[in-house]
Protein backbone atom coordinates (compact mmCIF):
# COMPACT_ATOMS: atom_id res chain seq x y z
CA UNK A 1 0.00 0.00 0.00
CA UNK A 2 2.43 2.64 -1.03
CA UNK A 3 0.77 4.23 -3.97
CA UNK A 4 0.79 7.87 -3.23
CA UNK A 5 0.40 8.09 -6.93
CA UNK A 6 3.60 9.41 -8.23
CA UNK A 7 3.38 8.87 -11.92
CA UNK A 8 6.83 7.84 -12.97
CA UNK A 9 8.50 10.56 -14.93
CA UNK A 10 8.98 9.51 -18.49
CA UNK A 11 12.59 10.03 -19.38
CA UNK A 12 12.10 8.72 -22.92
CA UNK A 13 9.59 11.36 -23.78
CA UNK A 14 11.82 14.27 -24.59
CA UNK A 15 14.46 12.30 -26.48
CA UNK A 16 12.33 9.73 -28.24
CA UNK A 17 9.91 12.12 -29.89
CA UNK A 18 11.88 14.78 -31.71
CA UNK A 19 9.65 17.29 -33.42
CA UNK A 20 10.96 16.39 -36.83
CA UNK A 21 12.84 13.28 -37.77
CA UNK A 22 14.28 13.42 -41.26
CA UNK A 23 13.16 9.88 -42.05
CA UNK A 24 9.56 10.62 -41.15
CA UNK A 25 7.08 10.94 -44.00
CA UNK A 26 5.97 14.46 -44.66
CA UNK A 27 2.62 15.22 -43.09
CA UNK A 28 3.13 12.71 -40.30
CA UNK A 29 3.23 15.39 -37.65
CA UNK A 30 0.24 17.15 -39.14
CA UNK A 31 -1.74 13.95 -39.18
CA UNK A 32 -0.88 13.25 -35.58
CA UNK A 33 -1.85 16.76 -34.59
CA UNK A 34 -5.15 16.38 -36.37
CA UNK A 35 -5.72 13.08 -34.56
CA UNK A 36 -4.98 14.80 -31.24
CA UNK A 37 -7.62 17.44 -31.85
CA UNK A 38 -10.03 14.71 -32.86
CA UNK A 39 -9.48 13.00 -29.51
CA UNK A 40 -9.84 16.28 -27.66
CA UNK A 41 -12.73 17.91 -29.48
CA UNK A 42 -15.74 16.20 -27.84
CA UNK A 43 -14.47 16.81 -24.31
CA UNK A 44 -13.32 20.37 -24.96
CA UNK A 45 -16.57 21.34 -26.68
CA UNK A 46 -18.60 19.85 -23.82
CA UNK A 47 -16.48 21.66 -21.23
CA UNK A 48 -16.85 24.95 -23.12
CA UNK A 49 -20.62 24.71 -23.54
CA UNK A 50 -21.64 23.09 -20.29
CA UNK A 51 -19.02 24.43 -17.89
CA UNK A 52 -17.11 27.52 -19.04
CA UNK A 53 -20.03 29.38 -20.61
CA UNK A 54 -22.36 28.77 -17.64
CA UNK A 55 -19.71 29.90 -15.15
CA UNK A 56 -19.02 33.10 -17.10
CA UNK A 57 -22.75 33.65 -17.59
CA UNK A 58 -23.26 33.32 -13.85
CA UNK A 59 -21.26 36.49 -13.42
CA UNK A 60 -23.29 38.30 -16.10
CA UNK A 61 -26.56 36.94 -14.76
CA UNK A 62 -25.70 38.25 -11.31
CA UNK A 63 -25.71 41.77 -12.79
CA UNK A 64 -29.29 41.45 -14.02
CA UNK A 65 -32.70 41.30 -12.37
CA UNK A 66 -33.49 37.93 -13.98
CA UNK A 67 -36.65 36.72 -12.25
CA UNK A 68 -39.81 34.78 -12.99
CA UNK A 69 -41.03 37.51 -15.39
CA UNK A 70 -37.81 37.38 -17.38
CA UNK A 71 -38.13 33.61 -17.40
CA UNK A 72 -41.47 34.04 -19.17
CA UNK A 73 -40.32 36.83 -21.49
CA UNK A 74 -36.72 37.96 -21.91
CA UNK A 75 -37.94 41.49 -22.68
CA UNK A 76 -38.43 41.93 -18.94
CA UNK A 77 -34.73 41.49 -18.29
CA UNK A 78 -32.81 44.53 -17.10
CA UNK A 79 -29.19 45.20 -16.32
CA UNK A 80 -28.98 46.36 -12.71
CA UNK A 81 -25.25 46.60 -12.06
CA UNK A 82 -24.29 45.61 -8.54
CA UNK A 83 -27.80 45.99 -7.11
CA UNK A 84 -28.14 42.24 -6.44
CA UNK A 85 -24.97 42.32 -4.38
CA UNK A 86 -26.05 45.42 -2.48
CA UNK A 87 -29.42 43.89 -1.71
CA UNK A 88 -27.79 40.62 -0.57
CA UNK A 89 -25.43 42.40 1.77
CA UNK A 90 -28.40 44.02 3.47
CA UNK A 91 -30.43 40.80 3.58
CA UNK A 92 -30.32 39.28 7.09
CA UNK A 93 -31.05 35.76 5.78
CA UNK A 94 -27.99 35.95 3.53
CA UNK A 95 -25.84 36.81 6.51
CA UNK A 96 -27.47 34.03 8.52
CA UNK A 97 -26.54 31.63 5.72
CA UNK A 98 -22.96 32.94 5.66
CA UNK A 99 -22.69 32.68 9.45
CA UNK A 100 -24.14 29.16 9.54
CA UNK A 101 -21.79 28.03 6.78
CA UNK A 102 -18.85 29.54 8.64
CA UNK A 103 -19.90 27.69 11.81
CA UNK A 104 -20.16 24.43 9.90
CA UNK A 105 -16.64 24.92 8.54
CA UNK A 106 -15.06 26.18 11.77
CA UNK A 107 -16.45 23.30 13.85
CA UNK A 108 -16.58 20.63 11.16
CA UNK A 109 -13.09 20.86 9.68
CA UNK A 110 -11.17 20.25 12.96
CA UNK A 111 -13.61 17.48 13.92
CA UNK A 112 -13.28 15.72 10.56
CA UNK A 113 -9.50 16.04 10.55
CA UNK A 114 -9.20 14.87 14.16
CA UNK A 115 -11.44 11.84 13.53
CA UNK A 116 -9.57 10.99 10.33
CA UNK A 117 -6.14 11.42 11.88
CA UNK A 118 -7.08 9.46 14.98
CA UNK A 119 -8.44 6.59 12.94
CA UNK A 120 -5.43 6.62 10.61
CA UNK A 121 -2.89 6.58 13.47
CA UNK A 122 -4.68 3.73 15.23
CA UNK A 123 -5.02 1.72 12.03
CA UNK A 124 -1.38 2.31 11.21
CA UNK A 125 -0.17 0.70 14.47
CA UNK A 126 1.96 -2.31 13.64
CA UNK A 127 0.08 -4.68 15.92
CA UNK A 128 -3.30 -4.10 14.24
CA UNK A 129 -4.56 -7.23 12.53
CA UNK A 130 -6.78 -7.41 9.40
CA UNK A 131 -6.05 -3.79 8.59
CA UNK A 132 -7.66 -3.86 5.09
CA UNK A 133 -10.99 -4.99 6.58
CA UNK A 134 -11.13 -2.19 9.15
CA UNK A 135 -10.05 0.31 6.52
CA UNK A 136 -12.93 -0.58 4.23
CA UNK A 137 -15.42 -0.58 7.11
CA UNK A 138 -14.39 2.90 8.22
CA UNK A 139 -14.40 4.21 4.67
CA UNK A 140 -17.77 2.71 3.68
CA UNK A 141 -19.94 5.65 4.84
CA UNK A 142 -18.12 7.91 2.38
CA UNK A 143 -19.44 6.06 -0.69
CA UNK A 144 -23.02 5.79 0.53
CA UNK A 145 -25.75 8.00 -0.92
CA UNK A 146 -25.85 11.26 1.02
CA UNK A 147 -29.63 11.67 0.87
CA UNK A 148 -30.27 8.11 2.07
CA UNK A 149 -27.89 8.24 5.03
CA UNK A 150 -29.17 11.71 5.94
CA UNK A 151 -32.64 10.17 6.21
CA UNK A 152 -31.20 7.40 8.40
CA UNK A 153 -29.51 9.93 10.70
CA UNK A 154 -32.67 11.96 11.00
CA UNK A 155 -34.16 8.95 12.79
CA UNK A 156 -31.00 8.18 14.76
CA UNK A 157 -31.27 11.76 16.06
CA UNK A 158 -35.01 11.49 16.77
CA UNK A 159 -35.86 13.12 20.11
CA UNK A 160 -38.04 10.33 21.48
CA UNK A 161 -37.13 7.14 19.64
CA UNK A 162 -33.62 7.96 18.45
CA UNK A 163 -30.73 5.63 19.23
CA UNK A 164 -28.47 8.58 20.10
CA UNK A 165 -30.78 9.90 22.82
CA UNK A 166 -31.17 6.33 24.06
CA UNK A 167 -27.38 6.22 24.42
CA UNK A 168 -27.44 9.52 26.33
CA UNK A 169 -30.26 8.22 28.51
CA UNK A 170 -28.36 5.05 29.38
CA UNK A 171 -25.46 7.08 30.79
CA UNK A 172 -27.83 9.31 32.72
CA UNK A 173 -27.88 12.35 30.42
CA UNK A 174 -31.11 14.13 29.43
CA UNK A 175 -32.54 13.74 25.93
CA UNK A 176 -31.64 16.43 23.38
CA UNK A 177 -34.06 17.76 20.77
CA UNK A 178 -31.23 17.53 18.23
CA UNK A 179 -32.85 18.78 15.05
CA UNK A 180 -35.60 20.73 16.77
CA UNK A 181 -33.74 23.62 18.39
CA UNK A 182 -31.29 26.13 16.90
CA UNK A 183 -28.55 25.48 19.48
CA UNK A 184 -28.13 21.80 18.64
CA UNK A 185 -29.08 21.62 14.95
CA UNK A 186 -25.61 22.42 13.62
CA UNK A 187 -23.83 19.99 16.00
CA UNK A 188 -26.38 17.32 15.07
CA UNK A 189 -25.81 17.72 11.33
CA UNK A 190 -22.06 17.86 11.97
CA UNK A 191 -22.16 14.46 13.70
CA UNK A 192 -23.65 13.08 10.51
CA UNK A 193 -21.24 14.89 8.16
CA UNK A 194 -18.16 13.82 10.14
CA UNK A 195 -19.38 10.21 10.19
CA UNK A 196 -20.00 10.36 6.45
CA UNK A 197 -16.76 12.02 5.32
CA UNK A 198 -13.90 11.31 7.75
CA UNK A 199 -13.04 8.06 5.94
CA UNK A 200 -11.85 9.96 2.89
CA UNK A 201 -9.27 11.96 4.80
CA UNK A 202 -8.38 8.89 6.81
CA UNK A 203 -7.34 7.00 3.66
CA UNK A 204 -5.14 9.89 2.57
CA UNK A 205 -3.50 10.14 6.00
CA UNK A 206 -3.01 6.39 6.12
CA UNK A 207 -1.25 6.42 2.76
CA UNK A 208 1.11 9.16 3.93
CA UNK A 209 1.73 7.50 7.32
CA UNK A 210 2.83 4.36 5.56
CA UNK A 211 5.58 6.29 3.84
CA UNK A 212 7.14 7.19 7.22
CA UNK A 213 10.08 4.80 7.61
CA UNK A 214 9.96 2.44 10.59
CA UNK A 215 13.55 3.35 11.45
CA UNK A 216 12.42 6.80 12.59
CA UNK A 217 10.12 5.25 15.18
CA UNK A 218 12.87 2.79 16.06
CA UNK A 219 15.30 5.62 16.69
CA UNK A 220 12.74 7.53 18.75
CA UNK A 221 12.08 4.44 20.88
CA UNK A 222 15.78 3.96 21.48
CA UNK A 223 15.92 7.58 22.62
CA UNK A 224 13.24 6.66 25.14
CA UNK A 225 10.30 8.41 23.50
CA UNK A 226 6.87 7.13 24.54
CA UNK A 227 3.77 6.82 22.36
CA UNK A 228 2.83 10.49 22.62
CA UNK A 229 6.36 11.75 22.02
CA UNK A 230 6.69 9.46 18.99
CA UNK A 231 3.47 10.95 17.63
CA UNK A 232 4.58 14.52 18.33
CA UNK A 233 8.10 14.27 17.02
CA UNK A 234 7.92 11.64 14.27
CA UNK A 235 4.37 11.27 13.00
CA UNK A 236 3.17 14.85 13.14
CA UNK A 237 6.11 16.46 11.30
CA UNK A 238 5.87 13.79 8.60
CA UNK A 239 2.21 14.40 7.87
CA UNK A 240 1.93 18.12 8.69
CA UNK A 241 1.92 19.25 5.03
CA UNK A 242 -0.79 16.73 4.17
CA UNK A 243 -2.87 17.76 7.18
CA UNK A 244 -2.76 21.36 6.03
CA UNK A 245 -3.69 20.62 2.45
CA UNK A 246 -6.42 18.17 3.42
CA UNK A 247 -7.93 20.65 5.85
CA UNK A 248 -8.18 23.30 3.16
CA UNK A 249 -9.83 20.85 0.77
CA UNK A 250 -12.21 19.98 3.60
CA UNK A 251 -13.08 23.65 4.11
CA UNK A 252 -14.12 23.91 0.47
CA UNK A 253 -16.31 20.83 0.94
CA UNK A 254 -17.97 22.33 4.01
CA UNK A 255 -18.74 25.49 2.02
CA UNK A 256 -20.89 23.35 -0.26
CA UNK A 257 -23.27 21.72 2.22
CA UNK A 258 -26.71 21.46 0.68
CA UNK A 259 -28.38 18.05 0.79
CA UNK A 260 -27.77 17.68 4.53
CA UNK A 261 -29.95 20.64 5.61
CA UNK A 262 -32.34 20.01 2.72
CA UNK A 263 -33.13 16.50 3.93
CA UNK A 264 -32.62 16.76 7.68
CA UNK A 265 -33.97 20.19 8.65
CA UNK A 266 -35.09 22.09 5.54
CA UNK A 267 -32.94 24.91 6.80
CA UNK A 268 -34.65 25.07 10.18
CA UNK A 269 -35.27 25.38 13.03
CA UNK A 270 -35.37 29.18 12.94
CA UNK A 271 -33.13 29.15 9.84
CA UNK A 272 -30.27 27.82 11.95
CA UNK A 273 -29.11 25.39 9.23
CA UNK A 274 -29.60 27.50 6.09
CA UNK A 275 -26.26 27.24 4.29
CA UNK A 276 -25.07 29.45 1.44
CA UNK A 277 -25.82 26.81 -1.18
CA UNK A 278 -29.23 26.11 0.39
CA UNK A 279 -29.95 29.84 0.29
CA UNK A 280 -28.90 29.93 -3.38
CA UNK A 281 -31.18 26.99 -4.19
CA UNK A 282 -34.21 28.61 -2.53
CA UNK A 283 -33.48 32.01 -4.04
CA UNK A 284 -33.06 30.54 -7.52
CA UNK A 285 -35.40 27.58 -7.79
CA UNK A 286 -38.05 28.33 -5.19
CA UNK A 287 -38.45 32.09 -5.74
CA UNK A 288 -36.95 32.14 -9.25
CA UNK A 289 -34.74 35.16 -8.48
CA UNK A 290 -32.04 33.82 -10.78
CA UNK A 291 -30.11 37.10 -10.88
CA UNK A 292 -29.85 37.32 -7.13
CA UNK A 293 -29.11 33.59 -6.82
CA UNK A 294 -26.24 33.97 -9.30
CA UNK A 295 -24.81 36.70 -7.12
CA UNK A 296 -24.91 34.25 -4.20
CA UNK A 297 -23.15 31.63 -6.34
CA UNK A 298 -20.50 34.12 -7.27
CA UNK A 299 -19.88 35.17 -3.68
CA UNK A 300 -19.57 31.49 -2.76
CA UNK A 301 -17.06 31.10 -5.57
CA UNK A 302 -15.00 34.03 -4.28
CA UNK A 303 -14.92 32.45 -0.82
CA UNK A 304 -13.75 29.12 -2.23
CA UNK A 305 -11.22 30.90 -4.42
CA UNK A 306 -9.85 32.73 -1.39
CA UNK A 307 -9.42 29.42 0.44
CA UNK A 308 -7.75 27.88 -2.61
CA UNK A 309 -5.31 30.78 -2.89
CA UNK A 310 -4.43 30.33 0.78
CA UNK A 311 -3.90 26.64 0.00
CA UNK A 312 -1.52 27.43 -2.86
CA UNK A 313 0.34 29.97 -0.74
CA UNK A 314 0.67 27.54 2.17
CA UNK A 315 1.83 24.64 0.01
CA UNK A 316 4.37 26.85 -1.76
CA UNK A 317 5.74 28.05 1.57
CA UNK A 318 5.95 24.49 2.83
CA UNK A 319 7.69 23.34 -0.33
CA UNK A 320 10.07 26.30 0.02
CA UNK A 321 10.94 25.56 3.63
CA UNK A 322 11.67 21.90 2.92
CA UNK A 323 14.37 22.49 0.35
Amino acid sequence: MTMVAQTPPDPVHSERLPAKTPTKRRGGIGRRERAAWGFLAPALIAIAIFFVIPVVSALLLSLTDFDIYALADLANLRFVGLQNYERLLSNPLFWTAMRNTAWFAVLGVPLTIAAALGAAVILNARTVKWRPIWRVMLFAPYVTTLVATAVVWRYLLHTRYGVINWGLDSIGLPAVDWLGQPESSIPAILMFVVWKTFGYNMLIFLAVLQTVPDELYEAARIDGAGRWKQFRHVTLPAIAPTVLLVSIITVAAFFQLFAEPYVMTQGGPAQSTVTVLYFMYEEGFKWWNLGSASAVAFILFLCILAVTLVQLWVSRRLAGSET
Partner: protein, 274 residues
Protein backbone atom coordinates in the same frame (compact mmCIF):
# COMPACT_ATOMS: atom_id res chain seq x y z
CA UNK B 1 1.94 -20.67 20.68
CA UNK B 2 2.99 -17.06 20.94
CA UNK B 3 1.18 -15.23 23.65
CA UNK B 4 -0.49 -12.01 22.53
CA UNK B 5 0.44 -8.98 24.57
CA UNK B 6 -2.52 -7.44 26.44
CA UNK B 7 -1.89 -4.09 24.74
CA UNK B 8 -2.19 -5.74 21.32
CA UNK B 9 -5.46 -7.39 22.24
CA UNK B 10 -6.80 -4.14 23.63
CA UNK B 11 -5.77 -2.18 20.54
CA UNK B 12 -7.44 -4.68 18.20
CA UNK B 13 -10.58 -4.73 20.31
CA UNK B 14 -10.62 -0.94 20.17
CA UNK B 15 -10.30 -0.92 16.38
CA UNK B 16 -13.07 -3.49 16.06
CA UNK B 17 -15.30 -1.46 18.36
CA UNK B 18 -14.76 1.78 16.40
CA UNK B 19 -15.43 0.01 13.10
CA UNK B 20 -18.66 -1.51 14.41
CA UNK B 21 -19.73 1.88 15.77
CA UNK B 22 -19.14 3.47 12.36
CA UNK B 23 -21.10 0.72 10.61
CA UNK B 24 -23.91 0.84 13.16
CA UNK B 25 -26.11 3.38 11.29
CA UNK B 26 -26.01 1.19 8.16
CA UNK B 27 -26.77 -1.99 10.11
CA UNK B 28 -29.58 -0.22 11.97
CA UNK B 29 -31.00 0.97 8.64
CA UNK B 30 -31.21 -2.61 7.35
CA UNK B 31 -32.62 -3.91 10.62
CA UNK B 32 -35.38 -1.29 10.90
CA UNK B 33 -36.34 -1.74 7.24
CA UNK B 34 -37.33 -5.31 8.16
CA UNK B 35 -39.49 -4.36 11.18
CA UNK B 36 -43.27 -4.31 11.35
CA UNK B 37 -44.94 -0.93 10.82
CA UNK B 38 -44.56 1.20 13.95
CA UNK B 39 -42.18 -1.21 15.64
CA UNK B 40 -39.23 1.23 15.62
CA UNK B 41 -41.20 4.12 17.12
CA UNK B 42 -40.89 3.09 20.77
CA UNK B 43 -38.47 3.82 23.56
CA UNK B 44 -36.00 2.25 24.04
CA UNK B 45 -35.55 1.71 20.27
CA UNK B 46 -35.40 -1.99 19.35
CA UNK B 47 -32.24 -3.06 17.55
CA UNK B 48 -33.55 -6.19 15.84
CA UNK B 49 -36.92 -6.91 14.23
CA UNK B 50 -39.14 -9.19 16.34
CA UNK B 51 -40.59 -10.86 13.24
CA UNK B 52 -38.79 -9.72 10.08
CA UNK B 53 -40.95 -8.69 7.14
CA UNK B 54 -40.39 -7.49 3.58
CA UNK B 55 -43.72 -5.65 3.47
CA UNK B 56 -42.11 -2.19 3.25
CA UNK B 57 -40.04 -3.19 0.23
CA UNK B 58 -43.18 -4.60 -1.38
CA UNK B 59 -45.08 -1.45 -0.54
CA UNK B 60 -42.38 0.80 -2.00
CA UNK B 61 -42.29 -1.07 -5.30
CA UNK B 62 -46.04 -1.67 -5.54
CA UNK B 63 -47.42 1.69 -4.36
CA UNK B 64 -44.63 4.30 -4.28
CA UNK B 65 -43.11 3.85 -7.73
CA UNK B 66 -39.75 2.67 -6.40
CA UNK B 67 -39.18 0.45 -9.44
CA UNK B 68 -39.41 3.48 -11.68
CA UNK B 69 -36.89 5.48 -9.58
CA UNK B 70 -34.52 2.54 -9.41
CA UNK B 71 -34.69 2.21 -13.19
CA UNK B 72 -34.05 5.96 -13.65
CA UNK B 73 -31.02 5.78 -11.36
CA UNK B 74 -29.56 2.69 -13.03
CA UNK B 75 -30.10 4.10 -16.51
CA UNK B 76 -28.74 7.58 -15.76
CA UNK B 77 -25.69 6.32 -13.84
CA UNK B 78 -24.87 3.82 -16.61
CA UNK B 79 -25.27 6.36 -19.40
CA UNK B 80 -23.29 8.97 -17.45
CA UNK B 81 -20.47 6.43 -17.04
CA UNK B 82 -20.38 5.48 -20.71
CA UNK B 83 -20.61 9.08 -21.94
CA UNK B 84 -18.09 10.52 -19.50
CA UNK B 85 -15.60 7.76 -20.27
CA UNK B 86 -15.92 8.16 -24.02
CA UNK B 87 -15.36 11.91 -23.68
CA UNK B 88 -12.54 12.04 -21.15
CA UNK B 89 -10.42 8.95 -21.94
CA UNK B 90 -9.40 10.02 -25.49
CA UNK B 91 -8.82 13.59 -24.28
CA UNK B 92 -6.66 12.46 -21.36
CA UNK B 93 -4.63 10.27 -23.72
CA UNK B 94 -4.13 13.12 -26.19
CA UNK B 95 -2.89 15.42 -23.43
CA UNK B 96 -0.40 12.81 -22.23
CA UNK B 97 0.94 11.28 -25.43
CA UNK B 98 0.18 13.31 -28.52
CA UNK B 99 1.98 16.45 -29.54
CA UNK B 100 0.02 19.43 -30.67
CA UNK B 101 0.35 23.17 -30.55
CA UNK B 102 -0.63 24.79 -27.25
CA UNK B 103 -0.96 21.47 -25.43
CA UNK B 104 0.67 22.46 -22.17
CA UNK B 105 -1.06 25.81 -21.98
CA UNK B 106 -4.44 24.24 -22.67
CA UNK B 107 -3.88 21.61 -20.02
CA UNK B 108 -2.83 24.21 -17.46
CA UNK B 109 -5.99 26.17 -18.24
CA UNK B 110 -8.08 23.05 -17.61
CA UNK B 111 -6.35 22.34 -14.31
CA UNK B 112 -6.91 26.00 -13.42
CA UNK B 113 -10.66 25.82 -13.91
CA UNK B 114 -10.76 22.56 -11.97
CA UNK B 115 -10.93 24.66 -8.80
CA UNK B 116 -14.22 26.24 -9.87
CA UNK B 117 -17.05 24.36 -8.18
CA UNK B 118 -19.64 23.21 -10.71
CA UNK B 119 -22.45 24.71 -8.61
CA UNK B 120 -21.45 28.20 -9.75
CA UNK B 121 -22.75 27.53 -13.24
CA UNK B 122 -25.89 25.73 -12.11
CA UNK B 123 -28.34 28.57 -12.77
CA UNK B 124 -27.14 29.57 -16.27
CA UNK B 125 -26.83 25.89 -17.19
CA UNK B 126 -30.44 25.43 -16.19
CA UNK B 127 -31.47 28.38 -18.39
CA UNK B 128 -29.35 27.06 -21.28
CA UNK B 129 -30.96 23.63 -21.07
CA UNK B 130 -34.37 25.26 -20.83
CA UNK B 131 -33.65 27.03 -24.13
CA UNK B 132 -32.60 23.68 -25.61
CA UNK B 133 -35.77 22.04 -24.32
CA UNK B 134 -33.79 19.61 -22.15
CA UNK B 135 -35.33 20.41 -18.76
CA UNK B 136 -36.99 17.32 -17.30
CA UNK B 137 -35.22 14.95 -19.70
CA UNK B 138 -32.56 12.28 -19.18
CA UNK B 139 -30.30 14.22 -21.55
CA UNK B 140 -30.50 17.28 -19.32
CA UNK B 141 -29.55 15.21 -16.29
CA UNK B 142 -26.56 13.74 -18.13
CA UNK B 143 -25.10 16.95 -19.51
CA UNK B 144 -22.79 17.88 -16.58
CA UNK B 145 -21.11 14.47 -16.78
CA UNK B 146 -19.84 15.20 -20.29
CA UNK B 147 -17.61 17.96 -18.97
CA UNK B 148 -15.47 15.96 -16.52
CA UNK B 149 -12.15 17.79 -16.23
CA UNK B 150 -11.20 15.58 -13.30
CA UNK B 151 -11.58 12.51 -15.54
CA UNK B 152 -9.26 13.98 -18.18
CA UNK B 153 -6.75 14.78 -15.46
CA UNK B 154 -6.87 11.28 -13.98
CA UNK B 155 -6.51 9.55 -17.37
CA UNK B 156 -3.66 11.84 -18.40
CA UNK B 157 -1.69 11.04 -15.23
CA UNK B 158 -2.10 7.34 -15.87
CA UNK B 159 -1.24 7.62 -19.58
CA UNK B 160 2.12 9.19 -18.82
CA UNK B 161 3.35 5.76 -17.71
CA UNK B 162 2.67 4.16 -21.10
CA UNK B 163 6.05 3.78 -22.81
CA UNK B 164 6.37 5.81 -26.01
CA UNK B 165 8.14 2.86 -27.67
CA UNK B 166 4.87 0.97 -27.65
CA UNK B 167 3.14 3.70 -29.61
CA UNK B 168 6.09 4.27 -31.95
CA UNK B 169 6.28 0.58 -32.75
CA UNK B 170 2.63 0.61 -33.76
CA UNK B 171 3.20 3.72 -35.88
CA UNK B 172 6.13 2.08 -37.65
CA UNK B 173 3.82 -0.86 -38.41
CA UNK B 174 1.59 1.62 -40.21
CA UNK B 175 -1.27 1.83 -37.71
CA UNK B 176 -3.40 4.97 -37.76
CA UNK B 177 -3.76 7.03 -34.60
CA UNK B 178 -7.28 5.71 -34.16
CA UNK B 179 -6.10 2.11 -34.41
CA UNK B 180 -3.28 2.78 -31.96
CA UNK B 181 -5.78 4.20 -29.48
CA UNK B 182 -8.12 1.25 -29.78
CA UNK B 183 -5.62 -1.60 -29.95
CA UNK B 184 -2.66 -0.39 -27.90
CA UNK B 185 -3.79 2.38 -25.57
CA UNK B 186 -7.24 1.24 -24.45
CA UNK B 187 -6.07 -2.21 -23.26
CA UNK B 188 -3.23 -0.58 -21.33
CA UNK B 189 -5.68 1.85 -19.70
CA UNK B 190 -8.07 -0.83 -18.48
CA UNK B 191 -7.38 -0.30 -14.72
CA UNK B 192 -7.88 3.46 -14.83
CA UNK B 193 -11.00 3.05 -16.96
CA UNK B 194 -12.50 0.82 -14.27
CA UNK B 195 -11.52 3.34 -11.60
CA UNK B 196 -12.89 6.37 -13.41
CA UNK B 197 -16.02 4.49 -14.45
CA UNK B 198 -16.62 3.55 -10.82
CA UNK B 199 -16.16 7.19 -9.70
CA UNK B 200 -18.61 8.44 -12.29
CA UNK B 201 -21.19 5.75 -11.60
CA UNK B 202 -21.13 6.39 -7.85
CA UNK B 203 -21.02 10.15 -8.36
CA UNK B 204 -23.99 10.12 -10.69
CA UNK B 205 -25.95 7.70 -8.50
CA UNK B 206 -25.37 9.76 -5.36
CA UNK B 207 -25.81 13.17 -7.01
CA UNK B 208 -28.63 15.27 -5.61
CA UNK B 209 -28.63 19.00 -6.42
CA UNK B 210 -28.59 18.75 -10.22
CA UNK B 211 -31.21 16.00 -10.64
CA UNK B 212 -33.35 17.84 -8.07
CA UNK B 213 -33.27 20.93 -10.27
CA UNK B 214 -33.46 19.45 -13.74
CA UNK B 215 -35.83 16.48 -13.25
CA UNK B 216 -39.08 18.23 -12.44
CA UNK B 217 -41.49 15.42 -13.18
CA UNK B 218 -41.89 12.74 -10.53
CA UNK B 219 -41.71 9.92 -13.09
CA UNK B 220 -38.16 11.06 -13.94
CA UNK B 221 -36.87 11.22 -10.35
CA UNK B 222 -33.71 9.36 -9.43
CA UNK B 223 -33.57 7.46 -6.13
CA UNK B 224 -32.06 10.29 -4.02
CA UNK B 225 -34.55 12.86 -5.31
CA UNK B 226 -37.46 10.46 -4.83
CA UNK B 227 -36.25 9.51 -1.35
CA UNK B 228 -35.97 13.16 -0.29
CA UNK B 229 -39.52 13.79 -1.52
CA UNK B 230 -40.84 10.61 0.12
CA UNK B 231 -39.19 11.44 3.43
CA UNK B 232 -41.08 14.74 3.56
CA UNK B 233 -44.38 12.98 2.90
CA UNK B 234 -43.85 9.95 5.15
CA UNK B 235 -41.98 11.33 8.15
CA UNK B 236 -43.76 8.92 10.52
CA UNK B 237 -43.09 5.77 8.49
CA UNK B 238 -39.61 5.01 9.82
CA UNK B 239 -39.61 1.41 8.62
CA UNK B 240 -40.64 2.28 5.06
CA UNK B 241 -38.11 5.12 4.83
CA UNK B 242 -35.36 2.76 5.96
CA UNK B 243 -36.35 0.29 3.26
CA UNK B 244 -36.10 3.15 0.74
CA UNK B 245 -32.66 4.06 2.08
CA UNK B 246 -31.51 0.43 1.76
CA UNK B 247 -32.66 0.29 -1.87
CA UNK B 248 -30.77 3.52 -2.56
CA UNK B 249 -27.54 2.67 -0.75
CA UNK B 250 -27.18 -1.07 -1.36
CA UNK B 251 -26.27 -0.99 -5.08
CA UNK B 252 -23.45 1.52 -4.68
CA UNK B 253 -22.16 -0.06 -1.50
CA UNK B 254 -22.00 -3.49 -3.13
CA UNK B 255 -20.35 -2.04 -6.23
CA UNK B 256 -17.78 -0.28 -4.07
CA UNK B 257 -17.01 -3.40 -2.03
CA UNK B 258 -16.55 -5.44 -5.21
CA UNK B 259 -14.21 -2.89 -6.81
CA UNK B 260 -12.69 -1.20 -3.74
CA UNK B 261 -9.13 -1.84 -4.88
CA UNK B 262 -9.71 0.29 -8.00
CA UNK B 263 -11.57 2.93 -6.05
CA UNK B 264 -8.97 3.49 -3.36
CA UNK B 265 -6.05 3.46 -5.77
CA UNK B 266 -7.72 6.05 -7.99
CA UNK B 267 -8.75 8.19 -5.06
CA UNK B 268 -5.20 8.46 -3.81
CA UNK B 269 -3.94 9.15 -7.32
CA UNK B 270 -6.44 11.97 -7.70
CA UNK B 271 -5.96 13.67 -4.37
CA UNK B 272 -2.46 13.22 -3.03
CA UNK B 273 -0.85 15.45 -5.56
CA UNK B 274 1.49 18.20 -4.55
Amino acid sequence: MTRLKPSTVLLNLGVALISLLVLFPLAWMVSVSLMQTGEAAVFPPPLLPSSPTLEHYRDLFANQGMGRYLWNSVLLASLATILALSFSVPAGYAFAKLRFKGRDRLFQALVGILVIPAQIGTLPLFLLLKQMGLVNTYAGALVPWLASIFGIFLVRQYCLSIPDEMLEAARVDGATEGQIFRRVVLPALQPIIVTLGLFIFLGSWNDFLWPLIILTDQSNYTLPVALAALSREHVQDIEMMMAGAVITVAPVLILFLALQRYYIRGMLAGSVKG
